[in-house]
């Protein structure tokens, strides 16, 4: 990659892992933005907007400390078979409901990502895209759902499941990018990072 180092504007251990696996040097700087969906906002618009807001918020911090940098931010959401946005569950009951909505059917996972360059105190026009992956979850008995939830990886995941680890065996098939389901569509992000001239 041409870029020597990027700033990952995300605290997600999964995104960190994906960038590490790809051999990208990075530093993590997290912004504290309001992630509440707007009324009547489409999932597509929401993940795109949140990824831009995350990147710009970190960009502002960098400008204040006079640093040039390339920032990568992302937001991932799960859209249920009925079209509902499934965020991170508040408790195990909500997680159980989410898994029950997803099991035996196909849902969409959307990741919006933004790449923002800060140069000489200015924030350049962001590259901002949304990648969609179709995930079919296998039919799960109530016992299987409970077993999965007992593994404790659901609470900080959109849709209450993780595509790696225990959650991998919930998935019957996927169509599209797998890393997108994990939290960052690596093919698209790496390809866009390669287009940036620093």
């Amino acid at each position: 990659m041409k870029i020597k180092k990027v700033i990952l504007a995300s605290g997600s251990p999964r995104r960190k892992e994906l960038l590490t696996w790809a051999g990208v040097s990075f530093e993590i700087i997290i912004s504290d933005i309001d992630e509440t969906p707007k009324k009547n906002e489409s999932p597509h618009l929401m993940v795109k907007r949140l990824s831009v807001e995350k990147a710009i918020a970190v960009g502002a911090q960098l400008i204040l400390s006079n640093r040039d940098a390339v920032i990568v931010a992302a937001d991932t959401t799960v859209v249920s078979p009925k079209g509902k946005i499934l965020g991170k569950p508040d408790d195990l009951n909500e997680a159980f409901k989410m898994i029950s909505e997803l099991q035996g059917k196909t849902h969409q996972v959307l990741t919006g990502y933004s790449i923002v360059q800060v140069k000489s105190g200015k924030i350049l026009k962001p590259i901002s895209k949304v990648v969609k992956t179709a995930v079919t979850m296998r039919s799960l008995s109530v016992e299987e759902r409970r077993f999965y939830l007992s593994q404790g990886e659901s609470m900080d995941k959109a849709g209450a499941y993780a595509a790696q680890g225990f959650g991998m065996v919930l998935i019957e098939k996927i169509k599209g990018s797998y890393t997108n389901v994990v939290g960052l569509p690596m093919n698209e992000v790496l390809s866009d990072l390669n287009k940036i001239n620093t």
Copy 2:
């Protein structure tokens, strides 16, 4: 699952992990069969045959020790975009050639699996199937290929890459079962295990 415990006829840490994640109780017994492909044998036939042979070999061991059991065996292979079977590479040079054949194109990953029941000293008719997943690998520069190989996970993998860990970020998109690429199509295997009456 109705079956209390299965025998996994495979030493693969990935298959072990997948069964563990699904909450299946199992024990590992490995057979030592000749895994050489037969001349002019199709990849489909090869993975099916090898999975049956692995399961039956373990079945024979169990009969000798008077045990009833349900055995799961599998064989995974990668078929290059040109239709060539890619097994485990012999050395880093061969691994580099394999990754170079796969990058930027779509290939097929085939797992043959067999479920064999041993009951009262008899081996019942195996359930034996092949699951195919299409994997598109992103375009990789020579530098990226070398970086991947330097991670050291290529040598015991068909096609010289692993679908989990570092290899996950080589994959642009997939169509089908992801666990099939890892080494065991969990939806199909769990569903077949549930059909067995012990």
